[in-house]
Structures are given as C-alpha cells and as structure tokens.
Symmetry: C2
Subunit: 283 residues, 2 copies
C-alpha cells in the first residue's frame, strides 16, 4: 500500500491507472477507522482493480470547533488496518494541500439540507460537497463508497453527482453495529465509559419508533414515545428525532402503506454528538 | 468530425481518448459561432490531440425568457465552420439530455457574482457553473477554452476549477472585434441595421474610459464622461459601466499605478443586451 500526501501525486497515480484501464474504487473517510469503514474498503477491493482510501478531517464541514479539534486522529493505526482490507493507496493530505486557497464557492442543496444535519450544522453540507468534489477530481473513481449511517450526506452526494454529471457510481452500505446495537462511529471513541453504556439507547429508540410505525400509530404519538424513552435517561440530550421520506428527506406527517421511511436521530451524550438511522418500508 | 448528441456517447468517447493517452481540448459554446469562437477552436486544435466543441443554449443561465427564446440557433452553419477549424467531436445535446432531472444544487460565488453580470442577471452564474461542471465531467478536457469577452464568467469558472480541484487548465483568449471595434458576439446577429451601426459606441466608450484612466482622472469623473458619451445616443440604454480589479472584479474607487483594471460595460440596444470589456494596467 502506497501512502500519498500530495494532491498532485494522487492525481498522477489515478491518471496512470485510468490510462492502464484499471477500475478505481474510492472510500473517503475522516479516519479513526472502524469495521463500518473496513467493510466499504473490502467491497471496493472486491469490485475494483485498485482502491484509494482518503483520510482527511475536513475543517470546512465542522460547524463546531471543539468537534473538529477533538475528532479522533489515528493515522498509523488506520494505515495498519487498511492494507489487509485491500487498500492500494492511502491519501493523507494536509489542510493546506486540500485548500491551497480559501474557497469562495458555496453549495446550497435547498430542501435536502434544510432538515436534520443541515438544519443543526450550518455549512456542514457545503463543506461535505466541496471536499467530496475535490476527492472525486483527485481520485477519478469508477465507484465511490459511503456508509448509510450518514444518510443525509449520501442524499446530498447523490444529488451532487446527478446535478454535476460526475461520471461515477455511488455505492452505499448499511450501518455496522456493535453487539449491543450502537452504530459504529469514529466519535464513539470519545464516549466516557458511562456514556458508552447508555449510547445503545439511540438504537433502542429507533427500534421502538419502527415498532410504533408498524403499529400504524400517529406520527406525533410516535415522536412523543420515542422522546420519552430517550429523555428517561438524563445523560441523553436529543437534538432531533424525525420520520422522513428516504428520497426527499422531508418529514412525514401521515404514514402511508408501502412508503419508504427513515427514522433519524441525533443526540448528545455529554459533549459527544451521535447520529443514527433506520430505513424500512411501512407495512 | 463526429456529431454526438448523448452525454453517454460523449463520455464513452472521451474515456477512450483518455485511455489512449490523447490530450483533449474543450471549447464550450452556445453556438451561432463567430471568429472569436473559431480562434478558440483553432488554438485548442493546435495544443491538443482532439477537440470537443459543445453547442448548447443552456436554459439555466438565462434569467430572461425572451433572451433564451431569441438566442440565435444555427447548428448546421456552425457544424460547417467547425470541421475546418479543427473540431474532432461536436457535442449537440438536447435540454433533456443535459438535465434529465431538475437540479437541486445551487452555486454561490459570493462577492465574485454580486457585481455586474451576477447582479443584473440573477441565477446566471449558477447556471453557468452547473453546465460547465457537467461539460467538464462529460468531456474530461486537459484544457478548456473561454473568451475574455465574458470576463466575469472566466473569473467564476477559474474559482470553480480551483475550489473543486478540477484537473484541467483554463485557457482564455482576447476578445475578437469587427473592423469598427464591435466585440464579436452571437447576439450581434439580433441587432437591427440601425442598432448595428450604433453598437461600436460601446467599444468607443471603453476606449474613452481607458484614456481618462491613463490621464489619472477621478473614477467618478471618468464614469460621468463615459455615461455622457453613451447616452448621447438615445438608442443606447446603459445597464452598467464599471472600473474593477481584474482579479476580484470589485469596483475600484481610487486608481493606483500598476494596478490591473478592467473596464466593463453592459448596455441595451433596443431589445438586445451587449457586454464588452477592456483590460489594461494603470500607468
């Protein structure tokens, strides 16, 4: 596995691969890798000739400076995990390498970003779309892999790819969970022992929400009951719990049979913010 | 010369060219070609192995429906001009081909688009950036060619390329003029005989402005005199005349020696809107 730190080196490498007819898979990450990331890398390796994994804690997508400062950074441990998973080239750029000049361009995705993460993290999806566009242009992937845990991010990137006619295929994989149901996340490393014990409540809340949806309860009642479950534990501060259409991400007021819905949650456990979601079809 | 009408056909062709190590030049146009366009095509042919010329009257960059409806469309005449100029592939897509689904994504370039064309044509540069991004992704150019007559467009596209790390080089060429000084433009075809006779006044106004700048007159006085020249003819309705920094495009209040400035003008002659500009260094 090669480690590349400059954009020019990555561009030169991927240009050569393209010319040689190699299929390129890209897995963009912010590092502190877990099994969710590694499954993406393994899938990319199975379906492509070469795999680029980027590790870049992108400052422009953080609205909270503490979250950026405290985001786990473990490049050596990550590198050790990536080679056996099938990574061909690890791209580890500096902030200056990715942003040699300040960006003037800003993206707006309209209704897609006026809910949930977009509403609670101003500027977040502009930063995501900017860095993902850069990574696409540096890596020239045939396929790019993203985890479904960041459901709204996937919707934004799908829109970006369609609206700008990027010539690549997006591949998403389901959320990987710990044995107790907690969605794997790099931010889980920042949880205290106490918070870690409580954290599976987020998934329990999603499962409760799913059960109530299947029982055809009213949306308002479902939200009340899910909030009650979560706020029973004072260590959890719910930021939002939404029932949304999986395509438009707009909140659903009235559930309809055969509708594809996503239950989405964001909550703070002390100073750590976690998100999770569950996708299913209404019966 | 091959004529391609589908995005998929162009992508397949440019993918093959890239794999074969061919250098690709792209000249994006809206058709109704004149010598300004043809010089771009000739330059692209001289510096690349293959040349893609796109002709697409892009609806998303028109804020005025009449301007879109009346924009000259002459695909057969254009095609006859392109082959001898060195065009390898003419891309002639339909609106549905370029926009199979409505765009949700919108670009904002901040201060770069809050002046001149951006201020007077709301949404114009969002449409430009969107279609140019698409054309870059379909054509995979090593070099893309633009005329300096659309000065603000060039600045926007330069920012787009830098901020999203597009792997290509922008090449700009000076404005080509008729013998009487009128900047070549596809919209000139829409001028009445009377308006065509008056139209060179725009360039005369720019030359007067340049002379006054060189005489170190005050910006306000220069603007007054240029406006007076233009409004002497009632057939001309000035939309703006600005003295701006060539990089930031922000209006200049006080001229400084060695400063790179652009004089920019937009004016209506009856129902036809023309723009022009002049770049030079303050002595």
């Amino acid at each position: 596995m090669e480690i590349l730190q400059s954009a020019a080196a990555l561009q030169a490498q991927t240009e050569k691969w393209r010319r040689d007819g190699q299929r390129i898979g890209l897995v963009p990450t912010m590092g502190a890798l877990h099994d969710g990331h590694l499954r993406l890398v393994q899938a990319a390796a199975a379906e492509n000739d070469v795999v680029v994994v980027s590790i870049f804690v992108n400052p422009t997508q953080f609205n909270n400076p503490d979250d950026f400062r405290l985001y786990p950074r473990l490049p050596e441990a990550d590198a050790a995990l990536l080679e056996p998973a099938g990574c061909t080239a690890l791209f580890l750029p500096s902030v200056e390498e990715m942003y040699p000049q300040p960006s003037k361009l800003r993206f707006d995705f309209g209704s897609l970003e006026q809910v949930m993460e977009g509403a609670h993290r101003p500027g977040h999806f502009n930063g995501v779309a900017t860095v993902v566009s850069k990574l696409f242009h540096l890596s020239r992937p045939h396929q790019a892999y993203f985890g479904q845990k960041d459901l709204q991010q996937v919707a934004i990137i799908r829109q970006l790819v369609a609206d700008l006619s990027f010539d690549l295929e997006l591949i998403t994989f389901p959320t990987v969970r710990e044995a107790d149901g907690l969605a794997m996340s790099s931010r889980n490393r920042r949880l205290s022992a106490d918070a870690r014990q409580i954290a599976p409540q987020l998934y329990a809340a999603l499962l409760l929400g799913q059960k109530l949806v299947m029982q055809k309860q009213l949306v308002a009642a479902i939200k009340d009951k899910v909030h009650s479950l979560l706020t029973a534990d004072k260590a959890i501060q719910v930021e939002y719990f939404e029932i949304v259409d999986t395509q438009t991400l707009q909140p659903i007021e009235i559930l309809v049979p055969r509708q594809e819905v996503a239950l989405c949650i964001a909550a703070w456990l002390a100073d750590v913010r976690l998100i999770d979601n569950l996708l299913f079809e209404v019966k």
